[in-house]
């Protein structure tokens, strides 16, 4: 592995370990969805996003919106690792008096751009930020990370229609396509295929990648906009629960929280001492 890949891998392991410990301690849900985005977040925060932990509201920062707000444990983890706030905060996740709620909240959490939790809200907000950026000739870019399940939402498709019409090539949608939504597989519940084709015919420049391959993630994110004048869509094929063998591709881990033994085993698989 080259140095960058080692860095991505190290950060991703930390994100996964934090998310597992946070979910375990809080007896919280959604560990599977945090694990599926860990590698994407590692690359974003290690080498793509122009953000500054010392100036979280710096006007020229890139905007990152976690539209799938239930994946927040992973985002809190990467924000803490990047120094936006103290790592000790992670131990308070979902606890009484904590800053860190079980869906991403920007209130009192430096580095978290907007609060989400109900699906289908992030891409419209991202369109607004991208419009403002274009209008004001600002250099920053807007990234929105969506779940596959939230591609069921009509509001997502309203924004999918809107962004190409307004040539928002400073906007990138990343879809965490782990193929399992809240109450079944995507295929069973409401099949999205052909997903890339749908975004393409709506006017987006689309790339499909392996969402756990750091080189592919980085190459895609460094290649935006894929086409001038078009918003970019990265369909990241991922595995729900990625990195913990007994959680991978299991719907149950959308809801379950690891017990003590499961946490030990999961951390051992990641090679992280408890």
């Amino acid at each position: 592995m080259n140095d960058d890949l080692v860095k991505f891998n190290n950060l991703a392991i930390k994100i996964r370990a934090h998310a597992l410990c946070m979910t375990h301690k809080a007896n919280a849900s959604h560990i599977g969805t945090s694990l599926s985005i860990a590698d994407i977040l590692a690359v974003l925060y290690e080498s793509i996003l122009h953000v500054d932990p010392k100036r979280p509201t710096w006007p020229d920062r890139d905007r990152f919106i976690l539209s799938k707000g239930h994946g927040c444990a992973a985002l809190y983890a990467v924000l803490a690792e990047r120094g936006f706030f103290a790592k000790e905060w992670l131990e308070t996740y979902c606890q009484d008096g904590s800053h860190l709620a079980g869906h991403i909240t920007s209130h009192g959490v430096p580095g978290a751009e907007v609060s989400t939790g109900s699906l289908g809200h992030g891409l419209p907000i991202g369109c607004g930020m991208a419009l403002a950026g274009k209008h004001d000739s600002q250099p920053h870019r807007v990234f929105v990370l969506l779940s596959d399940g939230e591609c069921d939402e009509g509001s997502t498709w309203e924004a999918v229609l809107f962004a190409p019409h307004h040539h928002l090539d400073n906007l990138t949608a990343i879809i965490d396509y782990n193929k399992i939504q809240s109450f079944g597989t995507v295929k069973e519940v409401l099949d999205l295929e052909p997903l890339a084709g749908k975004w393409r015919v709506f006017g987006w420049a689309v790339q499909e990648i392996d969402g756990h391959d750091y080189t592919q993630i980085e190459n895609a994110l460094k290649g935006i906009p894929f086409e001038l004048g078009k918003p970019s869509c990265i369909i990241a094929h991922t595995t729900k629960g990625k990195g913990v063998s007994f959680m991978e591709n299991q719907l149950a881990w959308h809801y379950k929280s690891p017990n003590d033994e499961q946490l030990r085993q999961a951390l051992a698989e990641l090679g992280v001492p408890e």
Partner: protein
């Protein structure tokens, strides 16, 4: 009111380049002058109110003052969760404007009657709720909400509403306007039904009943002082609203009165009972069905005569 609104907005947008206007594919013959003068700050987002509200939030979080505009329930109920989570939770500087408050789109039917909007918008934390009573108040309210930080909802009538205020009143968000004074009863109105309320007060005056009329153009934050003064200085309070009796002006005033320890004020609410209006007709026709015509309002006050309320 809608024409007054857009001309005022244009005037403000000339001086303040942070002002944007988003519409949900409505506004024909109204918003075109804004589009022509500020094409880069006007967007017709299409028939997509959820997206409109999310976009408005994104723009507002980028420093803009963003108006969203559509008719009846489209800019409010259709995208209620975007208003709650995106606009209100983030205290985004978004001003939601609905044209067609109450029965303004009368014969267009139930879908176009905005009759629960005030209650629902009022329930949202961080939301300021304004319903100007005439075109004069509309211009003043438009300017006021631009200066007022954070989320606002402004309910307008439609077109050709009569002018109530002969001169420009002192308009402050959260402060009721005393349209006429009186010592017997107080009529509190919000929105375009103010005109009928003032007419009813004139009718009552001819019969020796002196009614104070308050334009409660801001439903939230409510001017509790004006309500308390009315409770102390007059013998009855009657609220008048072109809106459901649940959760609107009458409820807001009742909440204030109910918490008074020693209030003996007689209190009545005039508004739309808890049902969908299934009648077809003009705005005045529908108002009449729900006791909101001039005569009905006056009659409701007269019915209090003889109970020690009025002479």
């Amino acid at each position: 009111m809608r024409t007054t609104f857009i001309h005022t907005l244009i005037d403000c947008a000339r001086a303040n380049e942070r002002i944007w206007l988003l519409v949900g594919d409505l506004g024909y013959s109204v918003v075109e002058p804004f589009r022509e003068e500020f094409p880069d700050r006007f967007i017709n987002v299409g028939v997509a109110e959820q997206n409109m509200t999310g976009i408005a939030t994104g723009l507002a979080l980028s420093g803009k003052i963003v108006f969203t505009y559509s008719i009846a329930n489209f800019p409010t109920l259709r995208c209620l969760e975007q208003i709650r989570n995106d606009v209100c939770y983030h205290r985004a500087n978004v001003k939601i404007v609905a044209v067609g408050g109450g029965f303004a789109y009368s014969a267009q039917g139930m879908t176009h009657h905005a009759t629960e909007d005030l209650a629902i918008m009022r329930a949202l934390p961080n939301m300021t709720v304004v319903a100007p009573g005439d075109p004069v108040e509309t211009a003043l309210a438009t300017r006021a909400i631009i200066e007022w930080p954070g989320p606002c909802y402004m309910r307008l009538g439609k077109a050709q509403e009569p002018v109530v205020h002969k001169t420009s009143p002192d308009f402050q968000i959260g402060k009721a306007i005393v349209v006429r004074d009186g010592s017997d009863v107080t009529l509190i109105a919000t929105g375009g039904i103010l005109f009928n309320t003032v007419q009813a007060a004139d009718e009552l005056a001819q019969q020796g009943i002196q009614a104070r009329v308050l334009s409660m153009h801001t439903l939230k934050p409510l001017d509790t002082e004006a309500v308390l003064a009315a409770a102390q200085q007059t013998k009855a309070i009657i609220t008048v609203e072109e809106h459901s009796l649940i959760g609107g002006l009458g409820s807001a005033v009742a909440e204030v009165l109910a918490e008074l320890s020693n209030s003996h004020t007689t209190f009545r609410r005039i508004g739309i009972k808890d049902e969908f209006c299934q009648q077809v007709g003009s705005q005045e026709y529908l108002r009449g069905i729900y006791g909101l015509s001039v005569d009905s309002i006056a009659d409701a006050i007269k019915s209090l005569v003889g109970r020690g309320i009025a002479p």
